[in-house]
Each structure stands twice: as C-alpha cells, then as structure tokens.
Symmetry: C2
Amino acid sequence: MNALDTILNHRSIRKYKDKEIPKEILDQVLEAAIRTSTTGNMQVYSIIVTKDVARKKELHKLHFGQDMVLQAPVLLTFNADFNRFNKWCEQRKAEPGYDNFLSFFTASIDALLAAQNATVAAESLGLGVCYLGTTTYQAGKLVDFFNLPQGVVPVTTLVIGYPDEKPNLVDRLPADGVVHYETYSDFSEKDIDIIYNEKESLEETKDLLKENNLETLAQIFTQNRYPKQMNVDFSKLFLEVIKNQGFMNQ
Amino acid sequence: MNALDTILNHRSIRKYKDKEIPKEILDQVLEAAIRTSTTGNMQVYSIIVTKDVARKKELHKLHFGQDMVLQAPVLLTFNADFNRFNKWCEQRKAEPGYDNFLSFFTASIDALLAAQNATVAAESLGLGVCYLGTTTYQAGKLVDFFNLPQGVVPVTTLVIGYPDEKPNLVDRLPADGVVHYETYSDFSEKDIDIIYNEKESLEETKDLLKENNLETLAQIFTQNRYPKQMNVDFSKLFLEVIKNQGFMNQ
C-alpha cells in the first residue's frame, strides 16, 4: 500500500491479537523512526521498547488501566532526550547549552515526528497502533519507571501490535475547521456550527449524550474527558518534571 | 512507493523548482494531515498555507533568510490551536479548561503528528519538504504575522515543493544510540565514542571542522549552530508567547 493510502486508512486500534511482533518487523518500525528528520540532525530523542510482560503490567497501571496496554505485545515510549547529546558534547570539549525550555521543546519535536513515522511504518506492515495521551500526565512516574537520567522526558507512547478489530474510520472535522489560507481566519458562531455539525449529528454522539446524561458533546470533553482541574493538576506536574529533568534553567 | 520506502528515502530538500503545486496535490497533503490521530479526536491544531509571493518574502525574513522559503511554492505553518475548540465549548454550554501548559503541549503533539503525516504524504506524491526550526524562535512574530488569536501558537513550519536537488541520504546514529530495551541504558564514555564514530569520521565532518576552524563536531553545535545564549534567549521569548497566547494559567 502506498504511503497516502496507509495514512488515509489510519484507525486507532484498541484490541490486539495475542501475537508477537517478529524482530525483523519491529526493527523496520524502529528504523523508520530513526530515519525521521530531526533538528540539525541532532536526533535528540529516544525510544524505549517494552515487551516484558511484568513490566507491561506496571505500565498498564501507570497508563490508567487501559486494557490494550496489556494485550499489545510492544509499547514504544518516546522521550525528548538531550542526555546522549550532552554527554557527547562534554566528551568533546564542547559546553552544551541545552538545559532550557526551548531545548526541551526542540527535543519533543524530534520525538513526536519520530513517533508518527513509526506509526505510518507500523501500519504499512500490517500492525495497528494507538497513542497514549496519559504519557504526559504520568511523565514523573515514567521517569522513575524507566530510570531516565537528566535531560530525558517522556512525551508520548505508542501501543503496537496486530489488530483484533477493524473499527470504522473515525470522523474528522471538514478541512475548513483546520486549514487557513494566508492569514488565520477566525471563526464566527455560524462557522463553528457548520464545522461541528457532522460530528454533533453522528449516532454515536447521540448515544454518548444519553449514556452520560449531558446536553452537548462539548460537555463530554469539558466535564468528563478533559476537565479543567485535571488539566491544571497535570500541567503543574508536567512542568515540575520538565524542571526536575533539567530543562528550566533559562 | 510503499510507506516504508517513502520514509526510508527521506531527505530534507533545500532547493526547489519554480513550479506550482497543483491544487489537487496540495489538497491530498492536507487531507493526510487531517487524518492524523489527535488527542481525544479534538484536532486541536491548525495549518496555515502560505502561497502569496509577497507574504513568502516576509516569512523569508522571519525565518532568518533561508533561500528555500522564497523558492518553494508553499509553506505550511502548523499551530498548537485550542481557539476553535474553545469557541465551540463556549457556544455549547461547556466551560473550556484549556488555558494551561498541559493543553498547550497536547495541542503541540497534535500539530507535530499532523506535520509528519503531511511530510510523508508530500514525499509519496513526488514533493520535497524541509522543516523550519526557526518557527519556535520566531513564534511571537509569527503570531503577529498570521494574526493568531488567543489559544494559538506556531510550533513548526514545512517548506514544500518540487525538489531541484537530490542530496545523499544523511547519516543517522546507529540504533543503539536511540533505542533502549525495557529500561534506559545510560551511556558510558566508550558507548558515546562508538555511537558517534561514524558521524565524526565523515568527510563532510572533516571539511566542516576545517571551514570553521574548530576541533570537534560537537563544538560546531555548541558554538556555531545552537549556542547556549541563543537557546536561553529564545527560551524566554517562546515561554512568553505561550503565556501571552493564554496557556499558562495553571
């Protein structure tokens, strides 16, 4: 399948077969990640492969008990990582100046672009993936779990394995909701109504509202999935991790 | 070409033909970006397409005068963007709680994964791309240039067009430098020597050292490309932009 079809056929997979990923297949996924272009070709990210069943059980708890973490044979945790680069500088009579927020963000860019390349490569090889947004919530605990040194912060995780489901393609907003030409064209009330119309009209949206006894889909997000206090609490924690890992010395 | 080959053949393109990208081709690139999986399917990112020659000239200046910005027919600026989502919440009796750092980072993840999907899609369609790391340095000026409302921060830019060069594949570190199994295996001095050996032995590295009259490749990074004071200055600016755009209220 060509790259475009692979991308357009993406669905997040939350049920996996009890089937290992052969080493040569996993190596191809990792190679694709490693080919990603990075800032100044510094490659300031790292990937941790988890296959060990006991360790997956621990990660299952850390990632809020999502079953797919136990089912899938492999987890890939992507880190913003200046540790190796800093060590290299120090061994080469060069003084690294990467203990600041910009460098954390630069390294996060590298890690995230690599994660998406791994995703596309995995899917082209018949694997399925799902991102774990809980990675930033639990970054501090993951630092301990993986024994991450200074200069390393986890930013996302991919669950990866052979799909045991084929969900329908999930809706996306019309292009007008996402793409702007030349300048940012801000949205009127009417624009917002039009952009969200399809999503709000879906049967599954109606079911969701009934289940949760809420009036609007937006409330599902603000009250149930991503409520303000949770975001505020995890914000503080995540900023603390970034600081503790040595990225706030500007 | 299948997705894996597209990814493995990536090279950043810095010379472009004077040739437009047909609308249907650019639309396919944008569609690929829009299919990217995002946090809770919120799609909290946006893409600004720049084609106007006069506006490209302004962006050329903002992005430190890199010639490819003028040559390439299209620039795509990717933003972390909670503006649309917040407006939707407010119109739907839902109180958004996304004015914090975690939400900024969540939105950045969405934007960056979408950018890499756009990259792979573009390359599979015969286009070339190059990322502009200057986006975070100049985020504040880009906010003004694109007239970005609260809740929107530029995080990366893709230059995109038909390649007028075919550079060699650029070196990457061996997998041992990037991939860890089960726990993070930190690097000994010897490990660092081995991991960087190939890169340090390249002819182009030797040429670079001669040109710059420096002793080690690491010094090229710490003294010329990404010196500490520059990182510190741009860190402060970038954090200020994140705050001004309304993402630091935790």
